[in-house]
Each structure stands twice: as C-alpha cells, then as structure tokens.
C-alpha cells in the first residue's frame, strides 16, 4: 500500500501473560477501542513501527506528486489542468498531515526527509512507474487512488489518534481523486479509436503495479500480526487486494476495457473475482531501487529540497530579524 512491508518488532505477538503490567494495560486500552494520544505511554515498538509506517505513507504522498506533476503542463484542456493542479496540491496537503502525525511521535519532519533522501526510508512502489500518456493520469486516479482509498478508509479506525485523524481528513478529499481519474477514463474510451487504445494501454501497464500496492501476502508475517494486534494495520494485504479486484473489475467492464489477466472472472462459489498474483520478483526489485523511475523520483525530491534551501534559510532569517526588532521596541 502507501506503506508497504513496514517492519514492526520482528517478534511474535506477546500473550497477555508475557507482557509487563504496563504493556498489558496498553493492549487493554487498544482492545477496548481507545485512541492512544501522543503523550500517553506506549511501547517502544509501537512508537517505532508507527513512525516507519506514517513516515513511509507521508513520503508516498509527496513522491506521488511527481508522476502526475509531469502532466500539469501537458493536460489537454485548461479545465483538466486546473483539476490536476488541485489534485496534486491535495497530495502535498496529505503529505503534510501525515508528517505532522509522525512528528507527534518524536521525530522531526526534517529528520524524516533526510531518511527519505538517503534512501533509508521507502515510499510506495507504485510511484516508480512512469506516466507515459494522458490516459495514465486517468488510470492513476482510478486505480492508484482507488487502491489508496481501500487501505485508508479502515485506517481511520486505527489506534493512534493523530494518524486516525489525518486519515479522516485524507479520506474526505481522496474520493475526488478517484472520480476525476475515472472521468478521464470515460472520456478516453468514448473518444477515437486511438484514445481507446491509450486507455487500454494505461490499464495494461497499471494493473499489476496497482495490485502490488497492497504488498505481498502477509498471512505469515510477524510484522503484520503485531501491527494488527496494535490496530495500526486493520486488514490483511490479501483481503484488501481482493476487495480492490472485486470493486475494480465491474468498473473496467463498464469502460469496455479488458483487465490484462485472463483469470479475472467472478467465482460463483466465493462471490469474489479470481485473479492472478502479480510478479513479486518485480515488486521486490522495484523496492530495492531498480524500478523504471526510482532514480528519477528520488533525484527530483533531493533536488527540490536542496534548491529550496536558500528560500527556507531566507524565511528563517527574516523571521529572526522581525522578532529581534519587536523585542527591541
């Protein structure tokens, strides 16, 4: 997902007997559905796992601006340009809400950015794929934001107050993103033969990378088990992926587009769509930094940060000068 394969403690979930009284009291609060707030006591593992997860989620939001930003100057009409600008601006806002949530855990935003820029922290694998034609912007809104919503809606109920509140805000804004993407797709499939072909091509390239967003099957992962016990991960990766396929297959059919997987069909017995798993070796390779756009994406982030340094310094110098003047008066 936006946060993929977040490492937790690496240990099996402790039973209540194995916990210290403090840990047991903490787990009881979570089990009772209470929200944990920044100044409350929390196990180190909970704090660290959340920092990784929220940080990775935040990084995904801001790196996610890049593939779409690529098309702002190339959008086919002024209206589409305005819509895309608004969407990309929303993503910056989402990144900001999430960095602020992470900061309540005791890490600064600059520290998180440093972790991203040095490659120690990751962002979602999906943003390492290029947006080659205008229909890709439709596919990104429809599929990528669609997958994001699927993950983020349950996270509104997560146990950490600031993260849960950030998710509430983000989910409110996110549905515009998916709908604008689907709207582009509808326009394309109702256009010329060449435009329909572009729409199909975009779906072909974004289908499997979208399925990868949920991460590999986590049914045996100790990290996932711990995160689910702490209610900072609500659903399994496979569960969310299935939900996504079930939701998306009829939407593709409505567009008259073919999902590039002949196994996608409704299974009468289960009531769910069957589908093929993506190529997980490709996923791990992209995570390792070998996707089509990893270098370009990270390079763009680092350059923006470094090129903006003089502006940030100037603003701080100006603020210091002003407050010194006020103090002198």
């Amino acid at each position: 997902m936006y946060a993929q394969m977040v490492k937790s403690t690496g240990n099996a979930v402790k039973s209540l007997d194995e916990m210290t009284p403090q840990e047991a009291a903490f787990q009881a609060r979570i089990d009772a559905g209470e929200k944990i707030e920044p100044k409350d006591w929390m196990p180190d593992g909970y704090r660290l796992t959340l920092m990784r997860q929220i940080g990775q989620h935040a990084h995904s939001e801001i790196v996610g601006q890049l593939p779409e930003g690529n098309w702002i100057t190339r959008a086919p009409t002024l209206e589409r340009k305005a819509i895309l600008l608004a969407k990309v601006q929303d993503e910056a806002g989402h990144g900001l809400y999430l960095y602020c949530a992470a900061e309540t855990l005791g890490v600064s935003r600059d520290e998180l950015l440093e972790e991203l820029h040095s490659g120690r922290m990751k962002y979602s694998s999906i943003f390492n794929y290029p947006t080659l034609n205008w229909a890709d912007i439709g596919a990104v809104g429809w599929l990528v934001d669609g997958a994001a919503i699927m993950n983020q809606v349950p996270l509104q109920r997560c146990s950490y107050g600031p993260y849960s509140r950030a998710m509430v805000r983000i989910c409110k804004e996110e549905s515009f993103h998916q709908r604008q993407g689907y709207d582009i797709m509808m326009k394309m499939v109702n256009g010329s033969g060449a435009q329909r072909a572009m729409a199909q091509d975009a779906l072909n390239r974004f289908w499997y990378p979208s399925l990868m967003m949920f991460g590999p099957s986590d049914k045996d992962s100790v990290h996932s088990a711990q995160s689910m016990a702490w209610k900072i991960k609500i659903d399994t990766n496979d569960g969310l992926r299935q939900k996504f396929v079930d939701q998306t297959a009829p939407q593709a059919a409505y567009l008259g587009l073919t999902i590039p997987d002949e196994n996608v069909k409704l299974n009468e017995e289960t009531g769910h769509y069957d589908y093929s798993d993506p190529d997980w070796s490709e996923f791990f390779n992209v995570l390792k930094g070998n996707g089509p756009c990893n270098k370009e994406r990270l390079g763009a982030r680092v350059k923006a940060w470094e090129d903006g340094a003089w502006v940030r310094d100037g603003l701080m110098a100006n603020a210091a000068k002003k407050s010194a003047k006020i103090a002198a008066e």
Binding site: E103, M316, N318
Partner: protein
C-alpha cells in the same frame, strides 16, 4: 537540519458560527506565513471563515499522568447534572 521552521497549531472557525476548532499543524517561519499556509492547507474546500495560528511550543497542556487528579473530582458531583433531580411528570417539561 538545525534551521527547521517552528511548528504551529491551526484552529479554524467553520461557516456556522461555532468555536474555532483545532484542525492540525504545520511548519512556518513566522505567524504571517503560518496563516497563509493554513489557508492553503486547511481551507481548500471552504472549511472556514476565520483562522487562528499559535506556536505549538506556546501551548501548555495537561499531561496524561494528571488525568485522575484533574478530571475525576467531577465524577462524584452528580448533582451538577439535571437528571439528578426527580421532577414529577405532572409538572410538565422542565
């Protein structure tokens, strides 16, 4: 790294005359910039008619450890609630 912009808390009053409500935080060099950023980040969809910003460092808060002594004394003062008093039905709405 040492020159990180300070954190500000943002409070917004919505359309309907309610209190300013905490909506989130942001980084800005000074108050003026914090207001502008708050406008851009937290009122993109008409969420507010007024914004307050205050430096996070200037907020004094209760700590979780004080929860008992701070808030529990009100538990045994049930007579502060109207439901404490039995008023006969014959009296009518009160």
């Amino acid at each position: 790294m040492t020159n990180e912009m300070p954190l500000w808390e943002v409070f917004i009053r919505g359309q309907h005359g309610l209190n300013h409500r905490h909506v989130g935080s942001l980084h800005a060099a000074d108050a003026e910039m914090a207001l502008l950023h708050a406008r851009d980040v937290y009122t993109r969809r008409n969420e507010g008619v007024s914004i307050w910003v205050v430096k996070s460092a200037d907020i004094t808060a209760t700590s979780p450890g004080d929860k008992g002594p701070m808030f529990e004394p009100s538990n045994d003062k049930v007579y502060r609630h109207p439901t404490f008093f039995d008023i006969p039905d014959d009296v009518g709405a009160m």
